[in-house]
Symmetry: C2
Subunit: 247 residues, 2 copies
Amino acid sequence: MRPKEHTHKHFLTAGECNAQRQMPITLIAQRVIEIATEHANILGVGYSDMIKFNSGWVLSRMSIEMTRYPGVNEEYSLTTWIEGFNRLYSERNMEIQDGNGETIGYVRTIWVAIDMDTRRPSDLSSISWLAETINDRSCPIAKQSRLMAVKDEEATMTTQHQFKVSDIDFNRHVNSVRYMDAILDQWDLEYFDNNEISRFEIQYLHETHFGDNAVIKTKITENIAEAEICVGENASCRAKIEFKNKN
Amino acid sequence: MRPKEHTHKHFLTAGECNAQRQMPITLIAQRVIEIATEHANILGVGYSDMIKFNSGWVLSRMSIEMTRYPGVNEEYSLTTWIEGFNRLYSERNMEIQDGNGETIGYVRTIWVAIDMDTRRPSDLSSISWLAETINDRSCPIAKQSRLMAVKDEEATMTTQHQFKVSDIDFNRHVNSVRYMDAILDQWDLEYFDNNEISRFEIQYLHETHFGDNAVIKTKITENIAEAEICVGENASCRAKIEFKNKN
């Protein structure tokens, strides 16, 4: 059986909350990666299936839009489904609900499969049957916009950042979530007391390694921040964050 | 009903693994805090119960000893129980098993309850009935040793570290797990390819806040590292790590 959607329920513990006593957006990203992995395993296109073709899924883009964040001791759930699939990538969405079944957010992700040796995109033709699991469930948030480079002269903030052991993942690259931390850590605590992230888009470009010295450039225009993490000439990722004033 | 033990099963996803494709010890610490919270909730001494007395549990000490770390796509479970309880603190242990029910590690923790305003220890006499839930299940790892200050002149490594937004928790202090990251991030990736942590002890002393500039001093003697994180004159925490060569 290949279920066209998969749901995972969670409970937000105090230990997982941020200083605003809510679910951090980085934990949402982690749960998104987790449920995508679970559903892929169920569908027979998980890590152990893909590695037979010397291939593995890599998160290419993610857009998270939240109207409300779960609070401490609150239940919440993620439901995921495949919206689109072709030879080059898979589009997978998520709906986030609170414990009462109210929708509090949506997520759009794009996954490419890469060859584990060349790190180049694999052809997904051999799992073309995955298209049969496409689900027409609605995901009423905008598709990801094109994220632009931040020019040195446009940057409102420029931060140096070195990636450490705790930033490195299974594939020996910087963990997708740690890029988000590195970007968001440029603001102070008071900013997040007064402002909430309503939309966070990220696009992963070049893989980054242990010890890499990065520069984070951020351009702020009203309530929108565009950020780029660069190692030398290469952009590791670009992000666009929309903030909403809480007051 | 007040169950004398509580078990939570987990599955280790690729996204949760470290570069050695194993469960990071920081994720074990997170799961330890999580299951302690769950069992406390079940027993009626969770966050929502304690806050009625303007009190809350704070992790004071943790010792983790692992003979093997779960790998990718492996199931594992934590079982927790209360070993001791008095007016000042509660001793709570965990056993970690793999998917086959083999024991792969044990954890000892000590929790104190603090008054949410004064941040001083609360008297636990009002929940003295908790002593009835004490379980004599065995925890065959050593109790925590006394962790000593690391003198400046003894330090093999000295690192500056500033705590950022992503380090701050529910109580607006540095997250217990992020201290561990800060300490372990002093080694390089190759060191963890060749050495595994067999025991990690940590003692939390002074609370640390957003923006605090810390100094991490580490004294290495053969396979043992003693570390101390200080902010000004105050020690935030002390740790002792035993490494085992993997080759």
